[in-house]
Every structure is written in structure tokens, then in C-alpha cells.
């Protein structure tokens, strides 16, 4: 009985809505910070020493905008499965990149929410944080019912307007 209740609660679309808003705010904020300082973000990417040089600038230009678009989509409830899938993919890649850098002993800034090279250096807590956020993304992908989504709200208003 208790177990069934816990499972129902964990699979709740309301919990998914909460995760959607959390990830939405996080990704919009993270994207805007990087858009404001593309060179700083490119430098943060370079410091990981994982990417080939030709990939750094295109990624520094495009990734922040993808983050903002997907974050805004999650907040507004537009293309939720696609947004959740990309967010989960990105978080998995970020977690692996930070993990590899920690194993290699690099003392670098994350470049996640700040483009400053003097920002707090990466630790295993960053990996844990990304995995928790990845869990949120997967939850949205599996259980979201598009509550409080803009398309649904518009759809609900249309018959009233046409009357």
C-alpha cells in the first residue's frame, strides 16, 4: 500500500511539472550567462582539453542558444519530450566531461553558470549535481503530461473565444 503510494507520487506529473520549471529556469539562466560572454565560455571549453580546436568556437556560439531555447520550451511547455531528451543528453555529456577532467586532475572552472576562469573549480559535487538534473530530465521524458503548458492553455481558451 505504502509502496504503491510512493510509486504513484514518484511518477506524478505534478512532480514532473516542478522538474520542468526547475530545469527551464536553470537552462535559460545558464544560456544567458554564456551568451553575454562568448569568449569566456569558449575559454572555459578550451580549458577542458577534450574538444578538438575547430569545435570550440562553433560550440561556444551555438550551445548557449540551444540551452535558452530548450529552457524556454520547458518553462512554456512547448516540445517538452524533445527538450527533455536534449537536456538529458547534454547533462550526461557535461557529467562525463567534468568526471574525465577530475580524473585527469585538471583544476578548472566548470563554465556552467559562470564564464569566469576564477570561478569555483570543478569537484565531484558538480558531477553529482549534473546526475541529479539528468534524473529530472528523465522524469520529464517519462512522466510529463504537459500540465500548465502554453499550447494546452491556448487550446482551452480557443472555444471560449470563438463563442
Amino acid at each position: 500500500m505504502m509502496r504503491a503510494r510512493i510509486i504513484t507520487w514518484l511518477a506524478s506529473p505534478y512532480l514532473s511539472l516542478l522538474f520542468r520549471w526547475c530545469l527551464g529556469v536553470i537552462f535559460v539562466y545558464a544560456g544567458l550567462v554564456k551568451i553575454a560572454d562568448p569568449l569566456g565560455f569558449a575559454l572555459a571549453l578550451y580549458n577542458y582539453h577534450i574538444l578538438p580546436a575547430w569545435m570550440i568556437n562553433p560550440l561556444a556560439i551555438c550551445l548557449p542558444w540551444v540551452e535558452v531555447i530548450i529552457g524556454a520550451g520547458l518553462l512554456a511547455g512547448i516540445m517538452i519530450p524533445g527538450g527533455a531528451l536534449v537536456v538529458s543528453g547534454m547533462l550526461a555529456i557535461f557529467a562525463v566531461a567534468i568526471g574525465i577532467s577530475l580524473i585527469r586532475g585538471l583544476d578548472i572552472a566548470c563554465g556552467c553558470f559562470s564564464t569566469s576562469a576564477g570561478a569555483e573549480p570543478i569537484t565531484w559535487l558538480f558531477v553529482v549535481r549534473d546526475i541529479l538534473l539528468l534524473g529530472m530530465g528523465m522524469h520529464i521524458l517519462l512522466f510529463d503530461k504537459a500540465y500548465a503548458s502554453l499550447p494546452r492553455l491556448i487550446q482551452a481558451q480557443l472555444p471560449k473565444i470563438s463563442k
Binding site: 551568451i35 569558449a42 556560439i61 520550451g73 519530450p81 527538450g83 531528451l85 569555483e120
Partner: protein, 171 residues
Amino acid sequence: MKARKPRTGAWRLSRAIWQGIFLVCLGALLATGFNAVRTTGLAWRGTWSPASLAASQRQGLEEIPLQEAWVLYEGGKALFVDTRDPVSFYEGHIKGALNCPPGEAERYLEEIRILALSGLVIIAYCDGVDCPLSTELARSLQRAGVAPVWVLVDGWGRWRKAGYPTEKGNR
């Protein structure tokens, strides 16, 4: 009337993938447009090597040669700002330097501004030719109206090698 097909897991995954591709393309398109019109846009092909990196970071900033920095130090006309982390600073720094990593710029802004107004030349330094901390702090200070801020490239390493005065501990 045609019966609606049940939405399977594979259908949902396929929809998520297509939506994901669309969102990524939309983001890339907006990024390309914005990067083309903004004044601080990045080149699509960047040269990423330690030497070119150090040069690009210092663009628009004033570098000070070691000898000039030493003359100012001897005359008591310079404030050296060590931009490295507190532990490195504790282990050794230019004698009389202030420890201010870029993330702490706001905290020390007023102190540095007053010292600059009193006539001291502000010289930021860190360790290594490709260290970005001193240039980053110099830019932050200049944005906050403290100008000019000079950068002593590879300041800590060159200062030590030259045998100029250093000290240990916190300021």
C-alpha cells in the same frame, strides 16, 4: 471514421528525437544570426593554442614590462594585485601585493579604486604565460571604472626568477 493509432513507446521516442533535432537546429540558427550582428561575435574558426590564447586575452589591455614594474615598485608607486587563489598567494607572492582573484573583484573594488585615485599604478599578475586570471581581473576593474590597469604577464614566475622581493602568508 478512422480509428486513432495507439501511441507506442517507440512513437514517443521518435517524436522526442525529432523535436530535439528541431530545437537544436533552431538554437543554432538563432545563435548564428545573433553572432553575426553582435559586435563581440566570435569567429567560427578560432585558433586555440596557449600562445594565441594569451595574446587574444590581452587584446585591448596594457602590458607592463617587468623592468618598468620593478621601477614603479621601488618608487612605491604601484599596487600589485595577485589574482591567483588564496592558497597560492599564501605560499608566496610579490611583497606588499593584494590578493584579489577575479571572483573577488567586487569586494576589493573600492579599496583598489581609492588606491588608484591616490596615484598608485594598478598592476595585475598571476602565474604562467597563458594564465587568464590577471587579464580577467584587469577587464573587470576597467569595466568598473578603474583605469588603466596594467597586466604583468607571467608576473609571479618572472618576478621570482629576477630575485625581486617576495613574501609568504596572508596580507
